[in-house]
Symmetry: C2
Subunit: 288 residues, 2 copies
Amino acid sequence: MKKALAIDVGGTKIYSAIINENGEIVSEIEKHHTPKTFDEIKSLFEDIIKRHEDEVEITAFATCGAVNNTNDGILGSTGNIAKEYPTMNFKSLSKKPVFVENDANAAAWAEHIIGSSKGMPYSVMLTLGTGVGGGIILDNKLYKGKNGAAGEMHFKMRTDKHRQCTCGSFDCFEAYASGTGLKKTAEEISGNSDITTYDVIGNKDCHMMKKILETWQNDILEGIIGLANIFDPDVVVLSGSMAEFVDINYLENRANKEIVTTPFKVVKASAGNYSGMIGAALLALGVK
Amino acid sequence: MKKALAIDVGGTKIYSAIINENGEIVSEIEKHHTPKTFDEIKSLFEDIIKRHEDEVEITAFATCGAVNNTNDGILGSTGNIAKEYPTMNFKSLSKKPVFVENDANAAAWAEHIIGSSKGMPYSVMLTLGTGVGGGIILDNKLYKGKNGAAGEMHFKMRTDKHRQCTCGSFDCFEAYASGTGLKKTAEEISGNSDITTYDVIGNKDCHMMKKILETWQNDILEGIIGLANIFDPDVVVLSGSMAEFVDINYLENRANKEIVTTPFKVVKASAGNYSGMIGAALLALGVK
């Protein structure tokens, strides 16, 4: 069975593992802190690849940042990682083939092949973490747009420039539906700038905390309604650490009452914490 | 050269014409008021088809309402037309083939083949009229979603249930970007419920009217930004009677400053007032 060396590159951690065509992790998972400089990151990649490339057909990166349509480089900038990182020449890192995809796109593909959107041709995945990642699969293909940057969940939730988003613009879905968004919503409702997401999540019986969570969840609901009206999908998949705190049945029921398109499911992701690596490996190995 | 009999079905008017593979109208354009009842509408269709079906290969409907993926029937309800209209058996109307597509989707296809998005594989068209229609073309194919209902521009502009939309939900893009939306915005800003869109458009030098138009245009801008971040398109095409009142260069410049995806164009539609019929004919004739 064919295998890929998968490397997941985030702003704080870099993971690697060998993954087979079934999406199974067949090695130890290596974990590293993301080095500060471009050269250190490149050296780490080279080290990982050197030790494993003989065991695999291809190296598959699941990376932060938008990835081009030739799956070999990053478009634009990438936030909290060495600022030269987007210039990385991934193909030069190995004597074997190298494949690169955005981490949220890769995770959506893992759900599509082995997870909770398996068998469903049209899915939109929202990864709710510190930020919000998006992955869109249409007619069983990963949707990338003209240059590869598609699936960014930066559509507006307000138009009065109320809350700035990490992208520089205002009031994007990410600025409300993310963990960071929950903290901001908590600050606004409580009037307390020291409030944390843990305060909210850990005190769900408190009236105010309940209201904060409901407001946050309602923003996620409104975003899902918009996406369902645009895409007429089979399913919206919620993943990421913050997805644990939403009421999936409520979201599915409410959203289906408000859409003008046709009924769809809302489900939690099931491919696990390493779905980015798994999806990148499956894409790199051509598993459809 | 192959030809289609195109019939455009709206809530107030029904048009028909014969259109060739080049998207050229090669007959008189017939115009009718949309009859009140299902039976009258059906009789009108039968009359038009009977008179022309021998001159064409196929009859192509561009209709209000979402159309299924087999292009032969309407999904769900359709607003201001006889309520049984969605049950129409289009195929039974002619002894020759019949093809049905949503009017906004058809118009987007006309722009793609002969209009302002020609040569661009990824386009989103917004038809700004009394309501807002949407048509999405991805990788040179009309995007329809799992059942055919995709491309509904009912994503949210606010989350505080401020303005009800014709769809029953609140604060959809359509409720702000449409002509009806402009009137509502004018009412809110002026405090005058008798104000009309003509008052706004006809008095652009008036400070308040200018502010109303700017607010309306800003809502359109925010919607375009969201769509560009979701789709990474080549172009967003604006059509419909209300598209005359936007500053296309402003929208393109501002939107490109705020997106996280890659640069895109904003253009006005150029396929003309009958683009729905033209697009339906081109789709029915298989012109790609």
